[in-house]
């Protein structure tokens, strides 16, 4: 037994030794390259990994004055508090629903747009349409939400249009039943044009002889779209879909924080906005960190699973 364990230990030890002596040799040879990495590594350690070390506050009754090392350990108390609170189901439901809306409406929109761009005859006209549709991507969240607030107000443009159809004037942003719809429309407006670029790029690489062959065989416009255009961008669609699935829980906190108000919390409050309120407005640091940790771990699992699926389905993966 004893001899066995030492005989295992020695190679490991010498492996380490040889690795470090090789590393030492390499560092000596490529001093400059390693020197370049000092600042970035320091940055990642101090501003990304040190906060991860700080995540242990999720298991503590964290106090600012005592810090991480002095605060009392409470085990899973914060997690229990969150799961038992009414906020758990509410924020989970809203997060999942808003993400589903994104997948159903915001995901296909750029694909359709790219296909339609592709059918425009005349390079200039196509370019003009594209230039206009990309612009919203460059408008900041504050301006977009500010505009949405204005447009949805009682004297805003949305009410003007709605009143043409006989609707009563109302402030749509204060009505919970409209919040998710408004938010979805806003993200579609902001991202559809820009997100279409990736599909346009895929469409450009489609072999035009395929279209010619199809039309010789008597396929009409619609049939060519279904049998030539669509299959050729399918790999891109699948890849993008998997990336979106991996980010399922990452509903942009900043847009919702700028858009929602207490009257619409019941449909607008997501996990990330809840973390923001609890942590930064109520200073319940431990609770917020615990909710953030749950969110982060579920997100990590989603990314891992979707990447695994991607490797199986499309043979392309993120790592």
């Amino acid at each position: 037994m004893r001899t066995e364990s030492t005989s295992v230990k020695i190679p490991v030890n010498s492996k380490f030794k040889s690795y470090f002596s090789a590393l030492y040799r390499d560092v000596k040879r490529d001093k400059a390259l390693y020197a370049l990495l000092i600042l970035p590594v320091l940055y990642f350690v101090l501003f990304h990994y040190k906060p991860m070390y700080g995540l242990q506050m999720a298991f503590q009754d964290y106090s600012l004055y005592k810090g991480i090392d002095g605060s009392k350990w409470v085990g899973f108390e914060n997690f229990r508090m969150f799961f038992e609170s009414p906020y758990f189901l509410r924020t989970l439901k809203n997060t999942v629903l808003i993400s589903l809306y994104q997948l159903v409406f915001a995901f296909p929109a750029p694909i359709i747009l790219a296909v339609l761009f592709n059918e425009v005859i005349g390079k200039r006209l196509k370019k003009a349409f594209q230039t206009a549709c990309y612009i919203p991507h460059f408008v900041s969240a504050v301006i977009v939400t500010g505009l949405v607030t204005r447009f949805c107000a009682t004297n805003g443009i949305v009410n003007v249009i709605a009143s043409l159809f006989g609707a009563e004037k109302q402030n749509y942003l204060t009505m919970p039943e409209y919040f998710r719809g408004i938010y979805t429309f806003m993200t579609v407006w902001q991202n559809t044009g820009f997100d279409s670029i990736i599909y346009s790029a895929a469409l450009m690489s489609v072999d035009t002889s395929l279209y010619e062959a199809a039309s010789i065989d008597g396929a009409n416009k619609w049939k060519r779209m279904v049998h030539v255009t669509f299959p050729s961008i399918l790999p891109t669609i699948v890849t993008m879909f998997i990336i979106k699935l991996g980010n399922f829980l990452n509903v942009g906190a900043d847009n919702i924080i700028l858009l929602y108000q207490p009257v619409t919390y019941e449909t607008a409050d997501t996990i990330s906005t809840y973390i923001y309120r609890v942590g930064l407005e109520n200073s319940q640091y431990s609770l917020a960190a615990a909710v953030g940790l749950v969110n982060g771990i579920v997100g990590l699992i989603l990314v891992y699973v979707s990447n695994y699926v991607s490797r199986r389905v499309t043979e392309s993966s993120l790592w």
């Binding site: 390693y34 991860m52 460059f138 505009l147 670029i197 700028l258």
Partner: protein
């Protein structure tokens, strides 16, 4: 190519549909411009449709004089954060991507993983905030420069680009006695100009539009960037519109003030727009090759 009647109809409908999309995309911006140039009462009544009503430039005068020139301070802050921040980001991104692009770098995979992992998992808002607090960086300009200083995705974009440059160039330079830094500065960076410009523009736009963390980290009025000031104005204008009497025109000025500030904050982006469009498309392509 011979077109059937049905196909012609398709092209016409397609063009009309895309025209509507283009109008929907651009209309809100035109509305902002028109509202900023209109007289406050028509804006408050909501009677602006497309063109300005009762043309006046008072709101711009007010923007300039608002709160003893708070807008200038915010503008200057934004420029500082964007210019210095983008420079810091670019330098750090190159410093990360260049060594990692060398296959011979021992330990490179560990550092690559260290960088990549932050894309999939982060500590979350509160530990990140408290970390800034521990470093006494809350309410400092430095914190804004540091937050999101290296975006991992751009590191990989650049790393992929560096790797597409043939190794033989480096070997030849090495034979001539050039060092790594010299090779990076004089061979790799000039060859990667388009990738570098793309990444500069990505950082620049996100820093220009950044709101959330600027509002979390900064408290002092004199340090806040334009977006945070704009947010305050938007909230103020809402509050005024709800509480003020209909006949007090002065309070409604808050509304045109908001629009004028929006214009002021969008204009630099629109000036850069032709470049932005070109290089952002390029960025999507570089990213697509990898993915």
């Amino acid at each position: 190519m011979i077109q059937s009647k049905a196909e012609k109809t398709f092209y016409v409908i397609n063009n009309i549909f895309l025209l509507i999309c283009a109008v929907v995309a651009v209309y809100p911006l035109i509305y902002v411009l028109s509202a900023s140039l209109s007289d406050p009462t028509s804006v408050a009544m909501g009677s602006i449709r497309l063109l300005p009503k009762g043309l006046n430039l008072n709101s711009y005068k007010e923007v300039i004089n608002y709160n003893d020139g708070a807008i200038w301070v915010a503008y200057a802050n934004t420029f500082y954060y964007v210019i210095v921040g983008t420079a810091v980001s670019l330098i750090l991104t190159i410093f990360t991507a260049y060594p990692l692009s060398k296959k011979r770098l021992r330990g490179g995979t560990i550092i690559t993983f260290l960088v990549a992992f932050t894309m999939w998992f982060n500590a979350g808002m509160i530990p990140t905030y408290l970390n800034y607090r521990d470093f006494h960086l809350v309410d400092t300009r430095t914190s804004i420069l540091l937050h999101g200083a290296i975006v991992s995705f751009y590191v990989f974009m650049m790393k992929t680009f560096f790797q597409s440059i043939p190794d033989s160039l480096e070997e030849a330079a090495k034979i001539d006695g050039a060092g790594d830094i010299y090779i990076m500065l004089h061979i790799y960076l000039p060859l990667s100009a388009s990738c570098i410009i793309t990444i500069i523009l990505y950082y620049l736009v996100s820093r220009w539009n950044a709101y959330l963390w600027s509002s979390i980290l900064l408290n002092t009025e004199s340090k806040i960037p334009l977006q945070v000031l704009l947010k305050k104005l938007v909230v103020d204008a809402n509050w005024n519109a709800e509480t003020a009497g209909i006949d007090s025109v002065k309070d409604y000025n808050a509304e045109t003030l908001v629009y004028a500030t929006m214009v002021v904050s969008i204009v630099p982006m629109l000036i850069l727009y032709p470049f932005l469009q070109k290089y952002f498309i390029k960025g999507v392509m570089i990213g697509a090759i990898k993915g």
